[in-house]
Each structure stands twice: as C-alpha cells, then as structure tokens.
Amino acid sequence: VTRHPASLADLWDDLATVGLLGAERRPVPVPPSGPVASLVAQRARTDPGEAVLDQVAALVAGRRAGIRPGAVAAPLEPPPADPRPVRPAAAGRRLALLLEAWPELVDEWLARLVAAGYRLAPDDAVALLARTRAEPQRRQAVVAACGPLAVWLVELFPGELSPRGRRQPAAPAPAVTPGTAPAAAPGVEPPADLAADLPPDLAALVHLPGDVLADALAAGVTSGRFQARHRPLLLRLLQQAPFASLEPVAAALARAGTNAHTMGLALSLADFAATRCQMIQELLP
C-alpha cells in the first residue's frame, strides 16, 4: 500500500524503510505537499529507485540546510579551583620536547613544576594522565601537578584516563599551597638511586666544580675513554650534576663534538645538559 506520510519526519522514516528493504518490495511513499513534493513532481520517474533517490536528496538537503540547535543542556559541574598559576608557556614547550627526546627528565620537570608553585596546563594534564595510566609512581607526580583537575577528568573520562590494572577509588587531589611541593610529589632533587648506579669514579665527578667537570667529560669523550656504550651512565651523571655545571658542560661537549668519532656522543650529551639547564631556568619559582 502506498504510504502518504503527513510530515517530512514521517516521510524520512518511510524512505528509510524503503531504502532498507528495497524499492522493489516497498512502494515509494508520496511526499506531503510542500517543497519536497514540488521538487520531485518535476521529475517523472518510472524507476522506483530513482524516485526514492529524488526524495532522499531533496529531503536531506532541506534538513541539513535547516539545521537548528537542540535543547539547552545542563553544564558540567566545574572542577574545584586550583590557586596555582599555569606553568609558563616555555615550560610547556619544553615538556613536549622532553616527552619526545629526553623522557629521562620528565620526572624532574614535574617535581620542579610543583615545587615552583605551578600547575600543569589542562592539555598537558590530559596528555600526561593518558601516558601514565600504567605507571603508578609517575602518576602520583602527575596528579600532584594536575591538582583537582585530575580527579575531575578521570571521573569524566574513565576509559581514556583512569589508571590501568587494579581498580582503585579516585584519590582526592593533594592540597596544594603555591610554592611548596605536595607530599606526594618527589623531591626536586633527582632520586638518590641514580647516583648509586654510577661507578665510583663517575660519581666522584658529580660534585666537581662546573668547569672541571666540563673539562673532564670533554677529555673523556675526546680521548675515547667515554664511548657510546657509556651514554646511559653519563646521562645519569648529568642528571645529578648541579645546575651551575650544566652550561659549561654543554659548551665543552659541543666543542668536543667536532671530531668524527666523538660527534654523536658529545653532541647528544651536550644537548642533554643544555636541555636540563634550560628546563631548570624555566621552572624557577
């Protein structure tokens, strides 16, 4: 039986049914009088498939052009306020660089951020919460840096941001006072076990004056004492090095990198030292 829908909404339902089952099995509906009926009346179609397509095209074009908003929706409950300022823009760009090039420095970056009284920018927060779903220790530091936004986001996006593994109740965000590190956050100084991993002769270098350390590293690289296989140890040494040493170390290693055999290691270490130096400067309280 040919249907005569009373409205365009009913017409769409009828067309959808015909489209699903096939115009060979269901009669083509007759559109209600109006613009769609006027348009399709201009085409004398004998093929039911073409007749359906004419109506669909006219109706879809009209519905899309007539787009209107739906009902006003209730807003979300906002997250509790965090009094800390958002980290400086340069520190945000540094974080992006660390995540790609020097992930070894991310923990220290987070600790320094919190200690300096900053909080993560919201987009950093999402990225770091997503990356640390299976890293409970690092996640603690991320949550401290996020502040109350972390709990709010995890409740809204459990599938994307909640911790993996054993289901745990969402812990309240630690209370934060600008300028102080929350108890949950690691200290500003890198963990002591980094130094413990260093051979005694390298560990002894850490506390040398900056220019002496720089000369020692450059000489070690140039002479071949330090080679590519020592890179992890040397990076740990540079993670331990005092801030004042980093700039001379970076400069000395960059100079040492002109030799074909030492270039890769020297430039890599120089970049690490320079990056850490700049990272610390960007996150001074």
Partner: protein, 519 residues
C-alpha cells in the same frame, strides 16, 4: 642506477663504473650547508635532537654525495640498514625507516654528517635509493617552479609556508594522481566532459539499483563493490567523487543507524550525479562548485591570477584526515577584518608527516587567492607580508614565551547553525563547514555536546579529541573552532580564557571515522 647515473651523477668518478658523469659538473661537490641550516629542516626539535644523536659516522656506511644529493645507510637496531637519501635541490628526503616524521632523524643526521665534511664526494647510492634520486633528478632542472610543481609527485610543504627552502617553490596542492586540467583544445575538454558524464550516468544507475534492491543486499556489504564503483569514477576523471563513494562505504554496518546514514549519502551522491550531468545549464559559480566536488582540477596559476584577498588571517583550526592513503591537512583561516573563511590544504603520502608548526591563534598577514566556485573556501597562499609565528621549542633561557594567539570571532550555536544552513542551502553537498562558537562542552545521556543559551549541538569525531577540549574549558563556555559535519561538530581548536589556542583537531589515521551521521 647505471642508467640514471649518467644523467644524475649518482655514480661518481670514484664509483664502480668508473664513469665520470655525462653532465660534466654532476660530480662537483655542492656547497655544504651549515649545521644551523640543516637543523632548520627538522620538523621539530625532537627530530633535531635525535638527529644529533645518530650523526655518528661509525653507525653509517655507503656514505656519498654529488652535486645534487647525499645518501648513506644507517645501521640502527633493525636487521636491515635504513637507506637514507636527500635530494639537495628540494630539499626532499627519503628514508626507509618507519618514522612518520619527514624529514626523519636519519635524513637530518645524514645532512649533519655531510655538513661536517664526513661524507666524501662520490660513491654509489644503493639501488632503490638510487632509483628514487634518479627519478627526481630527471626533472628538467631548467623548468620553472610552476612546471616543477605540476609534475612533482612529492607531497607538498605544509600550509602557510609560502616558499620552500632554497628553491622558493610555493607549497604544492596537487592531491595524488588527480586528473590533469582540461587541455587547451576544445576537443580535449569535450572528451573529458563526455567521460565524466558517462561516469556519472553509470554511478546514478548503480545508486538506483542499490536502492531498488535494498541496502541490506549482500553486495553492498562487500567493500569491493564500492571500490569498483569508485574505480569507474576515477576512470571517468571524477576522482573526488570516487573518494566520496569510498567514504560512504565506510558507513556500512558501522553503527546502529547505518542504513539511514548511507541512504542520506546516496541521496547526496545522486544530487551530485544529476548536477554533474547538467553543468552547461548551471550558473557559472555553481558549475564550478560542482566541478570541484567531482574532482576537476584547477591550475594553480589560474588561482594565483585571481584578485588577492588581503587580511590578517587567523589560524582558527586544523584537521588531518586519511583519504585513500593520503593524509589531507585542512587549515582553517579566518580573516580578522573581513571575517571571511579560507581553507588551505596540504597533503602527505601515508607514512610521511606534515609538520605541525602553526598554533591556533597565529596570524598570517598576507594574500590568499580563492579557488572558483560558489561558497568555495579553498585558497592558495600568495604574498606573505608577515608570516605566522611558528610553534618552536624554547631556544634560550629567558626567551619570551609565546604570545597568546588571536582567537577568531565567535558566535552562538544558533548563529553557527545559521551560517552552516546558509552555506548548505547554496551548496547542499558540502561535507564540512567551519564555525567558531562560544559554548561549553557537556554530557547529555552519555553523548558529548556543546551547549549555550541558544541550545546544543552534538560533538563527533575521534573520541580522543574530547578530553583535551573539556579540560581546557573546565566545563565553562570557551571559544571553540569546529567543523560542522552531518554527524555533528568535530572540534579542531579550543581557546582558553587566557586566549591561548590549543590544537585538538583530528590527527588522521584509521581512528578518524565520522560517527553518528544524521540526515
């Protein structure tokens, strides 16, 4: 390589063939670039840093160079070394590593070694690499940039980069193997029109058959059937329409209401097929819009000859989508003075990357040239008076932090509907339209929407876009750039209360499937 070596100098005087090169100066060493120049080619700081770490001669073999290229094998952790080559005239890099970033760290490292004189002139490029370098070198070096652009199959430089380094070439915008523009002769144009018309007639018959048989017919569940239809459209030189057919195929079975979505899109295809067969009777601007939707190409020179639209163009948002193994980047710009919208496209082959260097809110002062067509937004970048600030890493301690961007003008959700509706009333087959709204994200029965005092509109796109949007908003109204699509608004950028824009647009790939399309 042997064949090409005579023409390109890939084989050097010290190479196994002992040839000295047929082009005389092929083997002359190109002036080496400085480290700064090399590192400027890196798509981001991470690549620059990583390149320094792998620029170790001991990890390379087969290093060589000539006047136009550098090549070598990098011995990484894999069983096979990566073949790395750089055509210095582009510069364009090729590397067999899986990195999506181009140039990758290996290519930059190779240039660092070359820059530091660790690459001797001469040597052989290994076969596949050599073939690629030969193919690139075969381009007529005397050809003007315009001709090179037309012939160059390489993906273009990113949008808003009006000149390519060293060559001064403007960003390309050709899209894969798109059919060439109509030839100068009327006969050729007529032949093409006939081919397109025949293809559209065939498409329309297939559409009618599909609706007559019903959308649950087994044939429609087979993607091969859709691919066959698309292939016929490519043969008919309607490549854009072919891609659209494949996008509809992705909807089949993808959601509970897929048959309604597919039926709606079949209706739009029918509309385009009808319009395409009536081109001579349509108004010029509408006919141009139909041609664009079908896949007719327009010469860039023709576009650049149009009157420029000069403004301070604000980067409103970005979207990357994967279309037939090509990543298409849409950069939406909005005129600060005119409030006109513009779209700058760039492309990369799947597996290669488009550097993401322009932040939402960045401003380019310059000229855009618009493609022909009613409601056409696509433009080419012309004269740049003041380039946009690039997203760059902090370069030095104490360097000024990035200035907050300039958020584009926003409207209410009802206002956005008015804008979208007006565009669709004139060009009903539009698949997307940009809007900037001032609204808050919220949840309605488990679905994310944007809401304000005028109502709400659903969000769509990859689910990964929403958390950052919500985080930046904090649940409060913010300025958001989005693409209207039939399924809802795809968020592209969000501007926080401080005016800083955050790019949240789709990154391309297989997760980027539109969902919830509605008629």
């Amino acid at each position: 390589v042997e064949e090409g070596s005579a023409a390109t100098g890939v084989t050097s005087t010290t190479g196994a063939t002992g040839a000295t090169g047929a082009t005389g100066d092929d083997h002359a060493a190109a002036p080496r670039w400085s480290v700064v120049e090399v590192l400027a080619l890196a798509p981001d700081a991470a690549v620059a840093g990583a390149a320094r770490r792998v620029a170790v001669p001991a990890e390379w073999s087969g290093l060589g160079c000539d006047a136009g290229a550098v090549w070598g094998l990098f011995h990484g952790s894999g069983a096979e070394p990566y073949q790395v080559g750089v055509d210095l005239t582009g510069p364009v890099a090729l590397c067999t590593c899986p990195s999506r970033k181009r140039p990758c760290k290996h290519a930059v490292a190779l240039l660092l070694l070359w820059s530091a004189e660790h690459v001797a002139t001469g040597g052989h490029a290994p076969a596949p690499l050599g073939t690629w370098l030969v193919a690139r070198a075969r381009r007529d070096p005397a050809a003007p940039p315009e001709a090179a652009r037309e012939a160059d199959p390489e993906p273009p430089e990113p949008a808003l980069t009006p000149t390519r380094r060293r060559t001064g070439r403007r960003a390309d915008d050709t899209h894969g193997p798109a059919p060439g523009p109509p030839g100068p002769g009327d006969q050729r144009a007529a032949e093409r029109a006939a081919r397109v018309a025949a293809g559209l007639l065939e498409l329309d018959r297939w559409l009618a058959d599909s609706v007559r048989g019903g959308l649950t017919a087994p044939a429609l569940a087979d993607r091969a059937a859709w691919e066959l239809v698309a292939a016929r459209l490519v043969d008919a030189q309607a490549g854009s329409l072919a891609n659209r057919v494949l996008r509809v195929a992705e909807l089949v079975g993808a959601s509970v209401a897929w048959h309604e979505q597919v039926l709606a899109e079949l209706g739009v295809l029918h509309l385009l097929a009808e319009a395409g067969r009536r081109l001579p009777s349509l108004p010029d601007d509408l006919a141009d819009a139909v041609r664009q939707a079908l896949g007719f190409t327009v010469r860039q020179a023709t576009v650049l000859d149009t009157p420029p639209e000069t403004d301070r163009w604000i980067v409103a948002g970005r979207s990357d989508t994967l279309e037939d193994r090509i990543v298409v980047r849409r950069l939406w710009l909005r005129g600060a003075e005119t409030r006109a919208w513009a779209l700058v496209l760039s492309f990369a082959a799947w597996g290669q990357s488009l550097p993401d260097r322009v932040a939402p809110g960045a401003v380019m002062h310059g000229d855009l040239h618009r493609y022909p067509g009613r409601r056409e937004l696509r433009c080419l970048v012309g004269r740049v008076l003041d380039p946009p600030a690039l997203l760059s890493p902090p370069v030095a301690p104490g360097a000024p932090s990035q200035a907050p961007g300039v958020p584009p003008a926003a409207t209410s959700l009802a206002g956005a509907c008015d804008e979208v509706g007006a565009a669709l009333a004139e060009v009903p087959w539009l698949e997307r339209w940009p809007v900037v709204v001032y609204a808050a994200p919220t949840l309605v029965r488990g679905r994310w929407v944007l809401t304000d005092h005028t109502g709400s509109l659903p969000l769509t796109g990859p689910p990964s876009l929403v958390p950052t949007l919500v985080a930046v908003s904090g649940g409060a109204p913010v300025r958001i750039t989005a693409e209207w699509t039939a399924g809802g608004l795809v968020p592209l950028a969000v501007f926080g209360p401080d005016g800083v824009g955050v790019d949240v647009g789709p990154r391309g790939g297989f997760d980027d499937r539109r969902r919830g399309v509605r008629a």
